[in-house]
Symmetry: C2
Subunit: 330 residues, 2 copies
């Protein structure tokens, strides 16, 4: 496998150097692995901090900025960041209003954010945590107890970040984040495995002619292997699986997310089928996002995330955001 | 090769159906292959129209909207759109102020936009054309007489689109577009070939352990094959090749563009090296864009485009834009 890298050991540091060069509005600490919004403490707002293994870009560092995250802690590829990163991030963004940790449900992330929260509280910070666990495909998988965290992270970070930007207090930002997570479900499909720089070969074996339904964002096994099928059938399976666990009625926020190597041309074609299935099932789509947002390195495939959004969530979704990877309204 | 499609024959129509579903602000004519800004004629502005083969998304349809393109004409994958599409697009966006055609230098596009311009003029429209030919790698290649058109298309469309949005007359929009093209040069590197839906197998053969320097956006041969090398050496070669043909002094707009399947993590790492090379050569970087903007389906690799931007170009680059794939400042 050929990669556009210097060496597997420097991949994350090199990417952070690149972020620093491309985004002067961000304070990027390459050595300590922190990406912080320069004006994080300026407004006296609640800080919103996330992080996780690298390899899912633009998540999370690409979502640091006005109206979304205050800071992100990138770990090594597919490896949790350490509590020290999260503690520093909390310290860097806290303006006395407290900090919300947005934590994808993977065992390492959960433990490390928990430890960081304890340490931060010992330092006198108020910290709330929200656990994102939207993936309906499997529970109790390779990396996780319970459902894994995936595409809903974007919804949680955007909506909680917008509430924080407006000056909402910590308890309200945290409650809203939890409501967004509880209202969101996801399902992913892999057409190919991904290759980590350290390993240099595909993380799992997915033969020609097969796809993995319910794959995780690290290539964790899904529900089943199937023979390749047309996009319209994949959309029916994915949307069906999500809707089965999304009880409430009402309009949805829809994320049709590329895993990394699937062309945008195909993602839009897939979205046509997702929209068709939703319409057939009487689910109104309030907002749509199509693109590569929560990726798995060079995996081919996609995921669908739906969030049953109430009016407050929709208003905060529409609120201005200005980050490397998500920008509108300002 | 597995793809997220219904069938090779419906790939472009399916993607357009998906764009229509995701972007109600666009008027998408799936049958006639047209993507038009709904308010294209509202402001009495110059129309800016582009188009080309599909497979390079988000180019061009992803750049239709406020402050950029008035309309885009997608062809079949890697195949020029037909004059009838361009003629319809011109008619749909003309408000009496004339229309600029932004044409990437590929023989089919050049001939078809030329014919469309003639037909539009017969209908009484004023039409100007700008030819984008920024790729320094090769001249007179498989698809093209002269230099190929690639990443600079984004600069031309953004800056000319911003000028049109401000109400600049056709002659000024066209002159500016030509100046941007003349001030821009690109160089691309492939780590893998891409696979078109129709062919279903890689368009060329690039063995493990080799990369193609100066590749075209359809996988056309570049300058040479080399053994794989670290990102820092690729950046030196690519930036060096671009700067050699970019005579003027002054700050640059830099686009570090992914070909499609290269993870954003790697693109940012590569950008760190591009920024380092530019600094070492004393070239100030005024603005940077890192991501997948002018792609080649699922090709792995990247390209570097630099534009020696004067103050007017920078001001128009910074001007508000609101399209599916490029949004800021509004």
């Amino acid at each position: 496998m050929k990669m556009l890298i210097n060496s597997p050991e420097t991949v994350v540091a090199d990417a952070l150097r690149g972020m620093a060069a491309a985004h002067p509005e961000l304070d990027v600490d390459v050595e300590r692995r922190l990406v912080v919004r320069r004006d994080a403490r300026a407004g006296g707002r609640v800080g919103v901090v996330s992080g996780g293994g690298s390899g899912h870009e633009p998540l999370h560092a690409g979502f640091v900025g006005y109206g979304m995250l205050s800071a992100a802690c990138p770990g090594e590829v597919f490896t949790s960041p350490v509590p020290d990163q999260m503690l520093r991030a909390a310290g860097a963004v806290d303006s006395g209003q407290g900090v919300l940790f947005v934590v994808k449900n993977y065992t390492g992330d959960v433990l490390n954010f928990e430890m960081a929260a304890e340490l931060a509280e010992e330092d006198g910070l108020r910290v709330e945590r929200v656990l994102v666990n939207d993936d309906v495909a499997v529970t109790d998988s390779l990396y996780t107890a319970g459902r894994r965290g995936t595409g809903a992270t974007l919804f949680v970070e955007k909506i909680a970040g917008a509430a924080a930007e407006e000056g909402a207090p910590l308890e309200r930002v945290a409650a809203l984040a939890r409501r967004v997570n509880e209202s969101s479900r996801s399902f992913g499909v892999a057409l190919s495995a991904c290759t980590t720089p350290a390993k240099g070969s595909p993380t799992f074996d997915l033969p020609d002619g097969e796809l993995e339904l319910g794959v995780g964002i690290h290539g964790e096994p899904g529900r089943e292997r199937r023979a390749t099928m047309p996009a319209r059938e994949i959309a029916e399976l994915a949307v069906g699986a999500v809707l089965e666990e999304l009880a409430q009625a009402g309009p949805v926020l829809a994320l049709v997310n590329g895993m990394g190597a699937t062309p945008l041309l195909e993602l839009y074609g897939f979205h046509a089928e997702v929209a068709r299935v939703l319409e057939a099932r009487g689910v109104p789509v309030a907002r749509t996002l199509v693109g590569n947002y929560v990726t798995s390195l060079d995996m081919a495939g996609c995921s669908v995330t739906l969030c049953r959004a109430d009016e407050e969530m929709l208003r905060l979704w529409d609120a201005p955001v200005q980050t490397a990877a998500l920008r509108w309204g300002r």
